[in-house]
């Protein structure tokens, strides 16, 4: 598996990855999770925030995209402060320029089946924290079902709610922020067994699992 950091304007290879990503997102968020507001006739989930401000963290296995996430700076238009504004009652922990919004986290559904822990999900958790640290963010916001509180806390992340959970489509959903720190990266790496950096110095990609380091 490899981690790719993709931004617009994308080169040819990244363009293909992004297209693959948009189609998978439609499959996951619309067709499986029933997020009807995102449905599009072309079967691609693309919204107003898939613009030049967004960074896509994509996991590939061979040529296939198997998981992804989107990171949007909080001092630019973002999902949290528009669509999900109603979930936020508390102040952000610091100036918006120091935070990023983590959205569209997914693992390709067939990669989840029958496995105790999807390495794709572990790689995304590690990559997101690594990326946030590298970019100098001090917190990451997200909106998700409240089960993320358990999953995030279990990898040693400090998570603070931004408001009361509300039921959306029958699922208790909340907005919260994750503290970005060296400890948080260290903890998630230990909890997932991913010991090394996943994002290379140049910021493009690196291999997972088949490294030459013993």
């Amino acid at each position: 598996m490899r981690v790719h950091i993709v931004r617009e304007p994308a080169d040819r290879q990244s363009r293909d990855l992004l297209e693959h990503n948009y189609r998978l997102r439609h499959k996951v968020f619309v067709e499986r999770q029933g997020w009807e507001a995102l449905r599009r006739p072309d079967g691609r989930d693309v919204d107003d925030f898939d613009n030049e401000d967004a960074t896509h963290i994509l996991i590939t296995d061979g040529k296939d995209v198997v998981g992804g996430s989107r990171i949007t700076p909080l001092d630019r238009p973002n999902l949290l402060q528009t669509v999900f504004y109603g979930l936020v009652q508390e102040d952000l922990p610091a100036d918006p320029s120091l935070g990023a919004d983590w959205t569209r986290f997914y693992v390709r559904p067939d990669r989840r089946e029958g496995r105790r822990r999807a390495p794709e999900s572990a790689a995304l958790f590690c990559s997101v924290m690594e990326y946030a640290l590298r970019e100098g963010f001090s917190y990451i916001t997200f909106v998700s079902s409240i089960y993320m509180l358990e999953h995030g806390t279990a990898v040693g992340w400090r998570i603070t709610p931004l408001g009361r959970p509300q039921s959306i489509d029958g699922k208790p959903t909340l907005a919260a922020w994750i503290e970005v720190s060296e400890d948080a990266l260290d903890n998630v790496r230990r909890a997932t067994g991913m010991r090394q950096a996943l994002i290379s110095g140049q910021g493009h990609f690196s291999a997972i699992g088949n490294s030459l380091i013993p």
Partner: protein, 239 residues
């Protein structure tokens, strides 16, 4: 947000020992009228629950009885966790009171131990693993807001305990076996008898058997085959 809950959440995430979590949780659930609790993973059918228990705030006597008699597999509350993602009252856990006598026995015995009502929070972990935070106490006074707060608290506490357990060198051996035991289980997995393994390792057959039994206790398994299967499943040995 409820300021007490926010500070409890903060404290839970700072806590680095299971005993610290125990104290925090007793104090927090007392605010909602609950007295006792248990936090555990739920094992597959037939397996011992003890290696899965993250933290027990039950009376010792009931804990012993419940865990040693395999009640987790009969208990309708524990079973219902596999069928729902939302918290539920114990009294809403479905079972056939006429036909399912073992389930009824567990519910009745729990009542005799003063545990006739409670709130159960199922925990769904990645990869389909199932856990539970179960609180003992009356539930009829709870409003939706309190239920949601208890749900959040349960998720935080369960996650934090998983983190503490994975990082505590003394806590980790719930799932761990010694290097020697792993080596011997690998030979067992390849079909060798205790005598043959003794010949290979230079230990006595008695010692080999002892190692196997120790591994069995650590993993909460029922026999040698079961021990090998669990050791492989949890990647404690590779073939």
């Amino acid at each position: 947000m409820n300021a007490d809950l926010m500070s409890t959440i903060e404290n839970v995430q700072r806590e680095s020992s299971a005993s610290g979590i125990l104290d925090l949780l007793y104090a927090a659930i007392d605010q909602y009228g609950f007295q006792k609790f248990i936090i555990s993973g739920l094992p597959d059918r037939g397996m011992d629950v003890r290696p899965f228990v993250l933290l027990s705030g039950w009376d010792d006597e009931w804990y012993e009885r419940y865990t040693s008699l395999g009640y987790v597999h009969l208990d309708p509350v524990a079973r219902h966790c596999f069928g729902t993602t939302l918290p539920f009252d114990w009294s809403d856990a479905p079972y056939d009171q006429e036909a399912d006598l073992p389930a009824r026995r567990v519910m009745e015995e729990a009542r005799d131990f003063g545990m006739d009502q409670g709130l159960c929070v199922p925990i769904h972990m990645e990869g389909g693993m199932q856990g539970v935070v179960s609180l003992v106490g009356k539930t009829e006074h709870l409003d939706d807001k309190s239920r949601l707060e208890l749900h959040m608290l349960a998720l935080y506490v369960h996650g934090r305990l998983r983190f503490i357990n994975a990082n505590d060198p003394n806590g980790a051996p719930r799932r761990a076996i010694t290097r020697r035991e792993a080596e011997i289980l690998k030979w067992v997995a390849s079909g060798k008898t205790a005598n043959e393994i003794a010949g290979i390792t230079g230990l006595t057959a008695r010692t080999i058997n002892q190692h196997c039994e120790n591994a069995q206790k650590r993993l909460g398994t029922n026999n040698r085959l079961h021990t090998v299967v669990e050791a492989i499943r949890h990647k404690l040995i590779t073939l």
